[in-house]
């Protein structure tokens, strides 16, 4: 409510731009995958844009962000250069991880963006540790950690929640509940499927929000971040969302009905937010078209950048297995 009033045109347009950028970037990535320009596993974020954009806008540049292998959206929302991301997926030295990581391992230390983690739930303890460091260093720094519904079944979820609450560290756990872990529906992975109900078992302030609604996510995230900054304690936010596309490019989607996907597409966060902006006169149809054009151009540049990138020399294969300098 209050939020909606606060949102000004410029900010609204910026957020819409981000969501559209993510959407188009993902669509383009899929295309590049079928052209074999991108290889390995490719997990797209289409449908879930409101979560990354809504949460990350609530953070400052000093805050840390960690994500999974489905992290293009988070990286883009965090401001990692789309060119560097595309080059990364092209496997080029100009990529944000020097081409070593690919789609699943985007890193950008300058943006406090810490991956890009492909072991499900493996980054939760790391997030707790980064938040612990911030506390020890007396830095005003929230660590925000995105993960999926599937991840919440892993033991590391339990350990991380407990540690963060015990130690009272400033971490925001964001569970992106898209109802599936690969092809396994949440009813086969969680005995209690309202995942926000896991929070109280650790005494962690928890909430669930409609992850298809950018404004709702923004409001929930801002509330969460505010509480974290005020109390130094963890917060657990479940964003209920849906991925419109397959789990990865290897997925035949045998496990869900097309009609279910269609039903969810009606809740697409982008038209919803667009309509809101239009209705509130925060944007014009022309401005939307401009955003689309600008995004198209950004993506064109990203592809070109990836294409033009350089392959790492094979002789450099073992660089950075260990550090090249002894003092850090």
């Amino acid at each position: 409510m209050e939020k909606k009033k606060k949102l000004d045109a410029k900010e609204g347009q910026r957020l819409l731009h981000q969501m559209i950028l993510i959407r188009r970037f993902e669509e383009k990535s899929a295309e590049e995958y079928t052209k074999s320009k991108i290889r390995g596993f490719l997990h797209l974020y289409v449908g879930e844009e409101a979560v990354a954009v809504g949460v990350i806008q609530a953070l400052t540049e000093e805050d840390n962000v960690l994500s999974t292998y489905r992290e293009h959206g988070h990286a883009l929302a965090r401001g990692v250069d789309p060119k560097a991301i595309m080059a990364e997926m092209y496997g080029k030295l100009e990529g944000c991880s020097k081409g070593r990581g690919g789609s699943m391992h985007l890193f950008d230390a300058t943006k406090n963006f810490f991956g890009g983690n492909a072991i499900v739930s493996g980054h939760l303890p790391i997030a707790v540790g980064m938040a612990l460091a911030a506390k020890k260093q007396k830095k005003n720094k929230v660590t925000c950690c995105f993960f999926g519904d599937g991840a919440a079944a892993e033991g590391e979820f339990h350990e991380s929640m407990n540690l963060s609450a015990l130690w009272q560290v400033p971490v925001l756990f964001v569970c992106e509940n898209n109802l599936y872990a690969m092809g396994t529906a949440i009813r086969f992975t969680h005995s209690v499927q309202q995942l926000e109900k896991k929070g109280p078992a650790y005494g962690i302030e928890s909430a669930a929000v409609d992850g298809m609604d950018l404004l709702a996510v923004m409001e929930a995230a801002e509330k969460a971040v505010k509480m974290i900054r005020e109390t130094g304690k963890p917060y657990y936010l479940v964003c209920n969302t849906y991925r419109f596309r397959a789990h990865s490019m290897f997925d035949a989607e045998l496990y869900r009905e097309k009609s279910e996907v269609e039903e969810w597409k009606k809740k697409d966060p982008i038209p919803k937010f667009q309509d809101f902006l239009l209705k509130e006169n925060l944007i014009s149809a022309g401005q939307i078209a401009e955003i689309e054009t600008a995004v198209e151009e950004e993506i064109r540049k990203a592809i070109a950048f990836g294409e033009d990138g350089t392959w790492e020399e094979t002789g450099d294969l073992t660089r950075f297995v260990y550090s090249e300098t002894q003092s850090i």
Binding site: A118, G155, A181
Partner: protein, 328 residues
């Protein structure tokens, strides 16, 4: 002799699961996405329909939990096949496998058998980058109490599982995801295989190529090239990484007087280290030259194809190495 049929590596595994479940109703398959998704690599596609959810069990992301549950079910008289999607995630189940499955029989003074079969996808070759390209056969081969099998051929992909399910002791089977689509001919009636012995796939007199897993077809191919250049290589597939059948390769080395060990795993403290050591200990005086190794480069596997390829021995590397060894 029976007819030959063309079959993919994937189909070979699937037939083995199918047959073993038909034969013995104590057998069931559990793992992430084995049911509704059809298996992360489509190995178990269709089996859920055939056997129902009690025997093809989708499990949550909980590697320690469901592997331990498999151990419990085995203790209680079932014959679980636990699929740990890939070896990359097996670290999360390592405690269950090493501290429980491998110790219970001995520690209980012979009272408790753990007839579990744990299958995992393994290896490099799909540009999946550092966290998804591991070859961790060496870890498992170090641990007494386990039987560790490596399915380097289509016959073994089909036959090892059938034999493993007859074992009273825990069996780990490594399957090579890069080979899933590969078609080969196997005897139409090929069934259970020996799981205590290595196998000479090609006889030769000039040098012994000792390998396993994804190295097997590579070495066979290299042997063909070498033959064209007048070098007659013997190719040995270790197959059983624990307890290792040394007789087969020692006999070979006693005949050829030279050996090259080829593996994709990192070089240090690996299967090849063990093979070389046993040759040192037991066939030293038969050697005309030091045994050499071609192994995985000691690096977290990078994403780009050229670097990935450079990370493990390729057919040409084997050919070149052998030529250098024989014609220095």
């Amino acid at each position: 002799m029976s007819d030959l049929i063309k079959i993919t590596y994937r189909e070979a595994i699937k037939q083995a699961i199918l047959e073993s479940m038909q034969k013995d109703d104590r057998v069931f398959l559990m793992g992430e996405d084995v049911g509704n998704y059809g298996g992360a690599f489509a190995v178990s596609k269709g089996l859920l329909k055939e056997f129902g959810p009690d025997r093809i069990m989708d499990v949550p992301l909980s590697e320690s939990g469901f592997t331990g549950a498999g151990i419990g079910a085995a203790l209680a008289g079932m014959r679980p096949i636990v699929e740990v999607m890939t070896v990359n995630f097996s670290l999360l189940a390592m405690d269950q496998i090493f501290n429980n499955a491998a110790t219970l029989l001995h520690m209980s003074g012979g009272q408790l058998n753990v007839p579990i079969v744990i299958r995992m996808g393994c290896g490099i070759g799909r540009q999946l980058a550092a966290q998804h390209s591991h070859s961790w056969e060496p870890f498992f081969a170090h641990v007494p109490g386990l039987i560790v099998l490596s399915a380097g051929t289509h016959e073994d992909a089909r036959g090892m599982l059938l034999s493993a399910l007859q074992s009273p002791d825990p069996v780990i089977i490594f399957e090579y995801t890069a080979m899933l689509n590969l078609e080969k001919e196997i005897p139409s009636d090929s069934g259970a295989v020996e799981i205590t012995k290595a196998k000479v796939h090609r006889e030769g007199k000039d040098i012994s190529l000792i390998t396993y897993g994804a190295g097997v077809y590579k070495c066979m191919e290299a042997a063909v090239s070498l033959a064209a250049e007048g070098i007659d290589a013997e190719v040995i597939d270790l197959r059983v990484l624990r307890p290792m059948d040394e007789e087969t390769f020692l006999a070979s080395v006693r005949k050829t007087h030279r050996a090259l060990v080829v593996e994709e795993a990192w070089k240090s403290v690996s299967i090849s280290s063990e093979v070389v050591s046993r040759i040192m200990e037991k066939a030293f005086f038969d050697l005309d030259a030091p045994v050499e190794r071609l192994c995985g480069v000691e690096v977290p596997i990078p994403y780009p194809k050229h670097l990935e390829d450079a990370s493990v021995p390729q057919v040409m590397d084997i050919v070149d190495k052998v030529k250098k060894m024989l014609r220095p």
